[in-house]
């Protein structure tokens, strides 16, 4: 019975491999029907399985001490639900968008495989399973980056690959050390290392912890290993950049939560230089990301820099080791998924309908695409953190949490930088709305006339904008569950 957890992992992977190897679709319609069916069935089954099964499942033993083990908990459910939602709506969005790309069948093949791999990542119950799916996530996301196969895309793909592998091996380095000292590698809130063992080898464990944090945060684009993100995400086709920036990068954050909170244990790290450096690096990234986004003229690149910045909000929240900040981080994960996917969908819709890539070309765009631009504006406000949107709630929790910790300097510096970065966020997101709605004198009114994207592109956008507002209006449902989860992890 518990093995139904395997289905949402194996089924889309097999379906994807079939699509890549055996099946040959001449027309789009049956291909899309196939992809849609697989995604739908898998989403339903995945949701059913993860809320039904709470015990762990050992799939097989890689070696005697390293079982491949699946287990679902609140954090896993959160990530998996977000993934399912984005995968369904992203699929719907791409059905229209991919019309103007080649090699659709390959795109959807990897899209399906990645869905299964991500289920595996979210359901991982121990470190080695997590690592396995993490590596496969890196590899199977690569074809999405490479999809257009322009020189730029290939270079971005290689950059992505090398950064990711470098990060993964820094993390693996830590896995080896922890495997030696820990009794088990199964995720346990509070850590798996004996306190006496930890005290004996304190320096070693600090180095290992720092390496693992640096290694896994490569995926989350933390300075100094962020350069791949702003190359790879804009190079992918629109829907792919949305899922890369919305979901794949969260894989790094999930891995960090697992490693720091459930393998090493926050009590050991609290007050150490590891925590300090993590806070410094994440705050630096928050600020630098916003600053670079502010200077960037190409819309998709600007959004990618924004991802770098926003992910470090989450990382900063995680680095405080405090329940409220952790709740804020988890909330910001949700908020950022909805907002960033919606933003990239807007960028994709604009490219698809008009071909414009740079922000200054888009004067008056809202005259032709009002629904799209309204959605863009709402989610932008969310990212800046203006009430009543989800971003406001999450940032509130983050700032409150930071002030609450009482860590010298950082407890006030953190909120200050978060505020500064919010200003910059307004500076790089809102001009598009303003120029879009109020183009001023002398613009070509006919250019964008009737460019509103078709329904299958508008619906996902509207849903995400609605969710952004919804969470902001009714945050209690989420904060209760999430703070319970955060409390459990401490």
């Amino acid at each position: 019975m518990n093995h139904i957890l395997l289905f949402p992992i194996v089924f889309p992977i097999l379906a994807g491999i079939m699509l890549l190897t055996v099946m040959k679709y001449q027309n789009r319609k049956p291909l899309l029907a196939y992809v849609g069916t697989v995604l739908g069935v898998n989403a339903l089954w995945g949701l059913f399985a993860m809320f039904r099964v709470s015990e762990g499942v050992t799939v097989f033993y890689l070696t005697k001490s390293l079982p491949i083990y699946l287990k679902v908990d609140t954090v896993g459910r959160l990530f998996a639900s977000l993934m399912v939602l984005v995968w369904l709506l992203g699929g719907l969005f791409s059905f229209e968008y991919m019309k103007h790309e080649k090699n659709e069948q390959r795109f959807y093949g990897f899209y399906l495989i990645l869905c299964g791999v991500l289920f595996g990542l979210d359901f991982s119950g121990n470190l080695i399973t997590l690592y396995l799916f993490y590596e496969f996530m890196t590899l199977t996301a690569l074809p999405l980056v490479l999809h257009t196969q322009t020189k730029e895309a290939v270079m971005a793909g290689l950059k992505y690959l090398f950064y990711s592998f470098a990060g993964a091996y820094m993390a693996l380095f830590g896995v080896f050390f922890i495997g030696r000292y820990a009794k088990t590698l199964e995720f346990t809130p509070g850590g798996v290392i004996d306190p006496s063992v930890f005290r004996e080898n304190e320096t070693l464990f600090f180095v290992v912890a720092m390496l693992m944090i640096l290694g896994f945060s490569v995926k989350a684009g933390m300075f100094p290993m962020h350069a791949w993100l702003t190359a790879a995400h804009p190079a992918a086709p629109g829907p792919a950049s949305a899922v890369l920036s919305g979901i794949i990068v969260k894989g790094g954050i999930l891995a960090l939560i697992r490693v720091v909170y459930e393998i090493i244990g926050v009590d050991f790290l609290r007050g150490s230089w590891v925590q300090q450096w993590w806070m410094i690096l994440s705050l630096l990234t928050v600020f630098l990301g916003s600053l670079l986004a502010f200077r960037e003229p190409v819309l998709k690149k600007r959004l990618a820099y924004s991802t770098v910045s926003q992910l470090s909000y989450i990382l900063f929240g995680l680095s405080l080791f405090e329940v409220q900040a952790m709740t804020g981080s988890l909330l910001h994960i949700i908020a950022h998924v909805f907002i960033k996917v919606a933003l990239f969908f807007t960028a994709a819709a604009i490219i698809y309908m008009t071909g414009c890539k740079r922000v200054e070309e888009l004067r008056g765009v809202a005259k032709g695409m009002p629904v799209t631009m309204w959605c863009y504006t709402i989610v932008s406000l969310g990212l800046i953190g203006i009430p009543p949107t989800s971003g406001f709630i999450s940032k509130w929790y983050l700032a409150e949490g930071a002030l609450h910790t009482g860590i010298p300097v950082f407890s006030w510096l953190g909120p200050v930088i978060l505020l500064l970065s919010a200003l910059l966020t307004a500076g790089y997101l809102l001009p598009l709305s303003m120029r879009g709605f109020f183009p001023g004198e002398g613009y070509d009114a006919g250019r964008f006339a009737g460019k509103e994207p078709p329904l299958s592109m508008r619906v996902p956008l509207l849903i995400f904008a609605g969710l952004t507002l919804g969470i902001g209006l009714f945050p209690n449902v989420f904060t209760n569950i999430l703070s319970a989860a955060a409390d459990f992890l401490m």
Binding site: T21, F60, Y61, L62, T63, K64, L66, N103, I128, Y131, L132, E135, F136, L139, L142, L146, Q149, V154, G157, L158, L161, F162, F165, A166, Y169, M170, L172, F173, F176, F177, G179, R180
Partner: protein
């Protein structure tokens, strides 16, 4: 069960006699005989493996009339039998995968000679694996060298003649050092059988006399074998020898010939020099440093290479470095990791060579990366096989390479003082591996409009089956590694 005890000796004799008989046959029958003998050796070795695994003991088999300490002996436990099985499986697959190329590249009149060389190679490998006499080991090391040279030179290109000459010079240097080492040992101990050598050496080391000559002898033996197995910086002959010879030769040279010497070294460490003596000496530090240097330099050279075959060859330099790094760690776990890597690298590297030839043949015979663009679409199975090999080399979980890395890292973490250097270099080398292998994978999966003349080769059923077997072997090593490491651990214990 008494019957099974004869099998190892029978295998060696069988292969040697088949080499002699082949010279009287035509090329077709030489090929059939060779396939038959290699398969038979595989089956017999599997039987010996089952037998030794169930009994958990090792056996000594007296060769000829004179008993020890004067006569010659064969000795086998589960590890030896398993290696013999592995070598014959890889040999069969490599030959089968490159069969068409052998037919195309080798002069029909000489094809028979090729199979004679292969039979001799297998007999010498089996002898290296099974022998209990250090001088017999030397004799078969030379036979091994000669047959390997023959395998390189058989295509008669200018490049292969040059490569074979280089290989010959380096190899003879290695076996020369090995021979001098044996002479010094014989001089000091008066024995050639391994048990007696072991006792004498431990007595000498305990007494403290002749410590330095003893160390010199051990160092000569180790360095001799290291040169022969292409440990960095003695690898200059390797890229040409692997890069230009026919594909079966390249696969066998990298997976069998060099591994045979390494396995001999493992045997010598356990059975002659003694685990404690060897790990107490400074020789392992030298091996450790050269191993680490090889891991980096091999990969760096591979990155700079523009020829896919030579790139794979340079990657071998790095992988041999891993094995010596495992020796250098100076722990039992390091030896287990190295022994596992012999299997894992053997299975992966021969797969890569055989897959690469499918790709180059689908690209008009060009080996440069520019021409290989999109090759994986022209020969889908070879592309998939290359992908599997590359992922295994990079060390992605579920493939055999990951288990090797895991074992090396676990061994490194347990060792004193060397953990950090080993792990850092392991991580660096892995990232470097990722650079050149993933670059190649992306290259072969990038579609192109350029048309190439489609050769029949690469669509042959036997080639496809070979690649399928290789992929399975890789996954087998990656997914079910626990029984294999148990077997290695047990085998190493009874080796002593």
């Amino acid at each position: 069960m008494e019957m099974i005890l004869n099998f190892p000796c029978l295998c060696i004799l069988l292969t040697m006699f088949s080499a002699i008989i082949s010279s009287a046959l035509n090329r077709r029958w030489a090929r059939y005989l060779n396939t038959f003998v290699v398969t038979l050796v595989g089956i017999l070795s599997a039987a010996v493996l089952m037998f030794t695994l169930t009994s958990g003991k090792s056996y000594v088999y007296q060769m000829g009339h004179f008993p020890a300490p004067f006569g010659n002996e064969i000795r086998f436990g589960s590890l030896e039998a398993g290696m013999a099985l592995f070598f014959s499986v890889i040999m069969l697959l490599s030959l089968n995968g490159g069969r068409e190329k052998i037919r195309m590249e080798i002069d029909p009149g000489k094809e028979k000679l090729y199979y004679i060389m292969i039979n001799l190679l297998l007999s010498s490998l089996l002898a290296l694996v099974y022998t209990n006499d250090i001088f017999t080991a030397y004799v078969f090391v030379e036979i091994n060298t000669i047959s390997a040279c023959g395998m390189i030179v058989i295509t008669e290109h200018g490049r292969t003649i040059e490569a074979a000459t280089r290989y010959m010079i380096m190899s003879l240097l290695g076996s020369g050092l090995f021979l001098i080492g044996i002479c010094i040992l014989y001089d000091m101990t008066g024995h050639l059988l391994m048990e007696y050598l072991y006792t004498s050496i431990s007595n000498i080391m305990a007494a403290g006399t002749y410590r330095i000559p003893m160390m010199v002898a051990i160092a000569l033996i180790v360095v001799g074998l290291a040169i022969k197995s292409a440990l960095f910086p003695f690898h200059a002959w390797l890229p040409d020898a692997y890069g230009y010879s026919t594909v079966s030769s390249a696969a066998m040279l990298s997976s069998l010939v060099s591994k045979g010497y390494i396995f001999l070294l493992i045997k010598l460490i356990y059975r002659v020099i003694g685990f404690e003596v060897f790990f107490g000496s400074r020789i392992i530090n030298v091996l450790f440093v050269f191993g680490l240097a090889g891991m980096i330099m091999g990969s760096v050279s591979a990155i700079r290479e523009n020829d896919i075959r030579r790139m794979i060859s340079y990657s071998s330099v790095a992988q041999i470095g891993y094995i010596y790094m495992g020796f250098g760690l100076g722990t039992g776990a390091g030896m287990v990791a190295s022994a596992f890597h012999i299997l894992s690298h053997g299975a992966t590297k021969s797969l890569l060579f055989v897959a690469a030839v499918g790709l180059t043949d689908a690209s008009g015979g060009h080996k440069e990366f520019d021409e290989l663009t999109g090759a994986a679409y022209r020969n889908r199975l070879a592309g998939a096989a290359f992908l599997v090999g590359a992922l295994s080399m990079v060390g992605i979980p579920l493939f055999s390479g990951f288990i090797s890395k895991l074992l090396f890292a676990q061994a490194a973490v347990q060792s004193q003082g060397k953990a950090l250097a080993a792990l850092v270099v392991l991580a660096m080398s892995t990232v470097l591996n990722a650079i050149y292998f993933m670059k190649t994978v992306i290259r072969i999966y990038t579609p192109t409009d350029k048309k190439y003349e489609v050769t029949a080769f690469g669509y042959k059923v036997s080639y496809a089956i070979t690649l399928g077997c290789f992929i399975l072997l890789n996954l087998l090593l990656g997914l079910f590694s626990q029984p294999i490491t148990n077997w290695i651990t047990q085998g190493l214990t009874i080796l002593q």
